[in-house]
Structure formats: structure tokens, C-alpha cells
């Protein structure tokens, strides 16, 4: 019994240290302007206020950045589903010449990090007139190889007999995908959607490169820019961090079983 208590206390202490930065972020965001700059640093606000959040939305354009982030992440998610789901299914369950070679090539491509091609991609998008636009930010999310393998892994569990039976009943290949495969793959669809939404929401380097127009900034890009101009306003910066972080944290906590399960399934070799 004491061993059980002791172990749990040890984990709780570790967890408290892990959560401390996030709790401190929320606490400081509720302090009066200038309060966090005292010594010793206060841990909880003496007189809690929402003034920092009000200032963020009223004078820092946070509403606009929030809408940009929401729109971009939603669009990235929808586009990724449209491009990834059919491909993942085809690679798993349709027989056609060249498929296995394609899968092997894609698997090898997983070794290449996206940053390697960023400079040429920028030039390519400039030639297409897509720099400094939502479209430019969205482009890398169409080509998600990890997502394809996540879907493929799941699709491999669909029994071939089921597909064959539908064919004998005269269903077209498209109809089979749409009405039989997609409903079965609902958990994979949800996991993929969650990954892409979180990934595009948290992405920094590519939006930083592609977006030059302040009005198009996503939350991370806007927050980094704000940090360079208003580094002294700790309480304001913490409120900005809360607005940027809390939506994805809530999404994660609500769907964490799905997320962690998907992460482990996705890391299994294809």
C-alpha cells in the first residue's frame, strides 16, 4: 500500500513539473500588465483580469489570426482527406500494375524531411502565383506520405471478400470506395483529420516563409512576430500563447485515445 502511494506520488510530482509551464502560462495571462515583471515572480495573479485578452483582440488583431489559423487548418484537413484516403485504400486493397513499386518508393521517401525542398518549393509557388496566399500555405498538406501509410495500414484490415462480394453485386469501384470502404475506415479518417489539423495549426516554418502579408498570418507566425516587437509585455505574450495553444490542447484531451492509438499504428512499418 505504501509502495503504491509512493509510486503514485512520484508520478504526480513528475506530472506537476511537466504541466508547470502550461499552468504558469495561463496564470500570467490573467495578471495585471507589469505584474509578472516583479521579483520574486508571482505564481498566481493578485487581481485576476481578462484585460490582456481584450487587448489582444482589440488592438493586436488576434481575432484575424485566429480565423486565419482556423480556416487554414480546416482546409488543410479537408484537402488532406480528399487526397490521402483514396490513395491509402488503393495502395492497400486494389490490384494494379506498378502498385508495389510505388509503395516501396513512397516508403523510401519517408526518409526525406520536408525542409530540404523548401527553397525550390517557394520558387515553384512564386512561378504559380501562390506565394503569400492561403493556397501557398496549404500545398505541403496535399502531399502527406505519412497520412497515406496511416490509411493504408488501416485499409489492410478490410476483408477482400467484402469488396469482392460488392463487385459481384455489380457495384462500381467508386461506389465500393464511397459506400463500403469509407464507412469502415471512419476511425482512420478521424485520426488522420486530427493529425493534419494539429499539424497545420502548429506549423511554423512554412507559413513563415510563404506569408509576407501581416493580414494572412497564422497564430504561430503572428505570435513570433509579436514577440519580437512587444517582448516586454509578458502578460500579453502569455495570453497570446494561451489563445494559440489551448484550442489544440482541448482537441487533444478530448480525442487522446484516438490520437495516441493512431500514433502507434502509424509508426508500424507498412
Amino acid at each position: 500500500m505504501t509502495a503504491r502511494l509512493g509510486m503514485t506520488a512520484l508520478v504526480a510530482a513528475f506530472a506537476a513539473i511537466t504541466l508547470a509551464p502550461l499552468l504558469w502560462m495561463v496564470s500570467v495571462s490573467l495578471m495585471q500588465p507589469g505584474e509578472a515583471g516583479q521579483f520574486p515572480p508571482p505564481l498566481i495573479p493578485g487581481d485576476p483580469t481578462l484585460a490582456n485578452y481584450h487587448a489582444l483582440f482589440a488592438s493586436q488583431g488576434m481575432g484575424m489570426f485566429l480565423i486565419n489559423s482556423l480556416l487554414i487548418s480546416t482546409l488543410a484537413t479537408l484537402l488532406a482527406l480528399v487526397f490521402t484516403l483514396p490513395a491509402g485504400y488503393a495502395f492497400a486493397r486494389l490490384r494494379y500494375p506498378g502498385r508495389d513499386t510505388t509503395v516501396r518508393v513512397l516508403l523510401a521517401l519517408l526518409l526525406i524531411p520536408g525542409q530540404i525542398g523548401m527553397l525550390p518549393l517557394f520558387l515553384e509557388l512564386k512561378a504559380l502565383g501562390l506565394v503569400n496566399s492561403y493556397a501557398g500555405v496549404l500545398v505541403p498538406w496535399l502531399a502527406g506520405i505519412v497520412g497515406i501509410f496511416l490509411v493504408r495500414q488501416y485499409a489492410l484490415s478490410i476483408p477482400l471478400d467484402l469488396i469482392e462480394a460488392a463487385r459481384i453485386d455489380g457495384a462500381s469501384e467508386w461506389r465500393i470506395f464511397r459506400h463500403i470502404v469509407l464507412p469502415i475506415m471512419r476511425p482512420a479518417v478521424a485520426t488522420l483529420a486530427l493529425f493534419v489539423f494539429l499539424g497545420s495549426w502548429n506549423d511554423f516554418l512554412w507559413p513563415l516563409i510563404v506569408l509576407s502579408d501581416h493580414d494572412l498570418y497564422t497564430l504561430p507566425v503572428a505570435l513570433a512576430a509579436m514577440g519580437r516587437e512587444r517582448a516586454q509585455d509578458i502578460e500579453l505574450m502569455m495570453a497570446g500563447s494561451v489563445v494559440t495553444t489551448v484550442p489544440v490542447l482541448i482537441l487533444f484531451l478530448a480525442l487522446q485515445r484516438q490520437f495516441i492509438g493512431g500514433l502507434l499504428a502509424g509508426s508500424v512499418k507498412g
Binding site: A3, R4, M7, T8, L10, V11, A12, F14, A15, T18, P21, L22, W24, A36, G37, F39, P41, F83, A87, A90, F91, L94, R95, Y96, T102, L109, L111, I112, P113, Q115, I116, L119, P120, L121, L123, E124, V139, P140, L142, I145, I148, R167, S172, E173, W174, F177, W201, N202, F204, L205, I209, P220, V221, A224, S241, T244, T245, L249, F252, L263
Partner: protein
């Protein structure tokens, strides 16, 4: 096997995979290959305005890099991040996994979620928070040091401390993911083996050494390789917390690529940095695998 497939099935296979394959070819493979080509040119802001100014310069960008002290600084800094960060990630993630896997501990799924939470937080926002926690005057770290009677440290303002300070942040941010890999490996430890060792009178420590550690050794290798690759891709952390300073002590390879490419518009040199970065990542991923293969062959 394709002999059995109907024409409709073969056509559907290509039609359904085509959109994704075209997107991958256009926005991933083409730019990656073009990076190599770009690194052999003097593409800069003048070529950006008029492509006629573009010249093929062979390996000039690479030799310019090799004689640029900033390149060696960036490479050296990145190696420091690897040297400090990778062992820390492995140890902290393993410790967390052991705790979360321990049957004696209550509410295990909740702790697992807590340890994983930093991994899903927005990197830039978390870096902003840590920048203030590490602040020389009113940061929590120095407050804690003061409480135990130690002098304050200028974590992000002192070139000797900036890399260790950012490394601690990176470990906090990422250990949850590695913990999952360890957890998956711990599931494979046979319970009977652990029980048998317990009945034979083996203590906690000796069971850890002789039963658990051998079972998770491959996972530790995987975690280490992934951590090395992640360290080579550090960018937002120094960009937000130190802007590469103080005295360029936190400039990383990816930071150099961004700076050369998008601050100074030397895209040719930037692409050469990208190619070097790719070579480093490829080496980090393949050398351990090759070494393991050779080692196994020797023993066989």
C-alpha cells in the same frame, strides 16, 4: 497477382492514387530534386527579379560554405544539441514510460496524457512561455535557483548556457512521443518472465537490468535515431527564444538555411545548406542501421 484483377479494378487503382501521387511529385519530389540543382547555381535576389541573372557555379556554394565560419558554428551548435539532447530524451522518456507502465501506479492513462500534452502544444507558443521562464531577472528558473541559494544564470543571454537551456525546453516538448515508443516496447516484456525473476528473489533494480532493459534496447535505439533527426531540424526554438544569439551560439543548420534563403535571398547557398542538412539526416538514419547489420553478420 495483378492477373486476377479486372480492368475496372486496375483503372480504379490508378485513378484513386493519382491525385496524391501528382501532389507528391509536384510539391515534394520535384522541389527536393531541384534543391540539388539550385545548390549548383548562384540564385539570389537578382535572379529572383530576372532569371537571366542565373548562373551555374558548380560546387562554388559548397566551397564557400566550407570556408564560412558561421557554417561551422551552425554545425557545431547542432552537434551540441545532439550530444546534450539525445541522451536526455532517451533517459527521461524511458523513466516516464516505466512509471506509466508500473501496475502499482494509480490513474495511469491520465498521467500518460499529461506527459504527452507538451508534444501537442504549439511549438512557438511553448517557446515563448519558456523564454520567460528562463528570463535572467524574473524567470522561474532563477527564482528556483535563488531559493536553494544559487546565483542567477543568464540562461538565454550567456553563450555557454543558451544551448543547454534550449535543450531542456526541447526535451520537455518532445519526450512524450518517445515515451510512447518505450511504452509499446514495454508491452512486449513477458509478464511471466518478470514474475519468475520476482519469485527467484530478484529486486526491482535487477529485474530492470536483466528483464526490462534487454527488451527495450531496440526501442531505445529507435528513440535515439529519431531524436538525432529531430535535433537536426531545430529551427523555431532558437528563432523564437534567442534569434540565433547570443553571439550566434544557437544558430542551427536549418536556421542558417532560412537565413541565407529568406533573409538574404541567397537561395543557391541556402540550397547547399539544405543538401548538407539532408546528408546529415540520412547519415543519422542509415549509419546505425548499417552498423547493426554489420555487427549481426560478425556475430553470426
Amino acid at each position: 497477382m495483378t492477373g486476377l484483377a479486372s480492368r475496372a479494378e486496375r483503372r480504379a487503382g490508378w485513378l484513386l492514387s493519382a491525385p496524391a501521387l501528382i501532389a507528391i511529385a509536384l510539391f515534394f519530389i520535384l522541389p527536393t530534386v531541384a534543391s540539388l540543382a539550385l545548390s549548383l547555381t548562384d540564385f539570389d535576389i537578382y535572379a529572383l527579379a530576372d532569371i537571366g541573372n542565373l548562373r551555374f557555379v558548380g560546387l562554388a556554394n559548397y566551397s564557400a560554405l566550407l570556408s564560412d565560419p558561421l557554417f561551422w558554428t551552425a554545425l557545431g551548435n547542432t552537434f551540441w544539441f545532439v550530444l546534450l539532447g539525445v541522451p536526455l530524451v532517451v533517459v527521461v522518456a524511458f523513466f516516464a514510460a516505466i512509471l506509466v507502465n508500473e501496475r502499482m501506479v494509480a490513474w495511469r492513462p491520465a498521467w500518460r496524457a499529461v506527459f504527452f500534452a507538451p508534444y501537442v502544444t504549439t511549438l512557438v507558443a511553448a517557446a515563448v512561455v519558456w523564454k520567460y521562464m528562463l528570463h535572467a531577472r524574473y524567470g522561474l528558473f532563477n527564482h528556483a535557483l535563488g531559493a536553494i541559494g544559487l546565483p542567477p544564470v543568464d540562461w538565454l543571454g550567456d553563450p555557454r548556457w543558451a544551448i543547454p537551456a534550449i535543450t531542456v525546453f526541447v526535451v520537455w516538448k518532445s519526450f512524450g512521443y518517445s515515451m510512447l515508443i518505450f511504452l509499446a516496447a514495454l508491452q512486449t516484456v513477458p509478464r511471466e518472465l518478470d514474475e519468475a525473476a520476482r519469485i527467484d528473489g530478484a529486486g526491482w533494480w535487477s529485474r530492470l537490468r536483466h528483464v526490462t532493459l534487454p527488451a527495450v534496447a531496440p526501442a531505445a535505439g529507435l528513440v535515439a535515431v529519431l531524436a538525432v533527426i529531430a535535433m537536426f531540424q531545430l529551427f523555431a526554438e532558437p528563432y523564437v527564444m534567442t534569434e540565433g544569439g547570443p553571439a550566434q551560439s544557437t544558430i542551427t543548420v536549418l536556421y542558417l538555411m532560412f537565413d541565407q534563403g529568406f533573409q538574404w535571398w541567397n537561395l543557391g547557398i541556402g540550397a547547399a545548406v539544405a543538401v548538407v542538412l539532408f546528408a546529415c539526416i540520412l547519415a543519422a538514419a542509415l549509419i546505425p542501421a548499417l552498423a547493426l547489420r554489420i555487427y549481426r553478420r560478425r556475430r553470426a
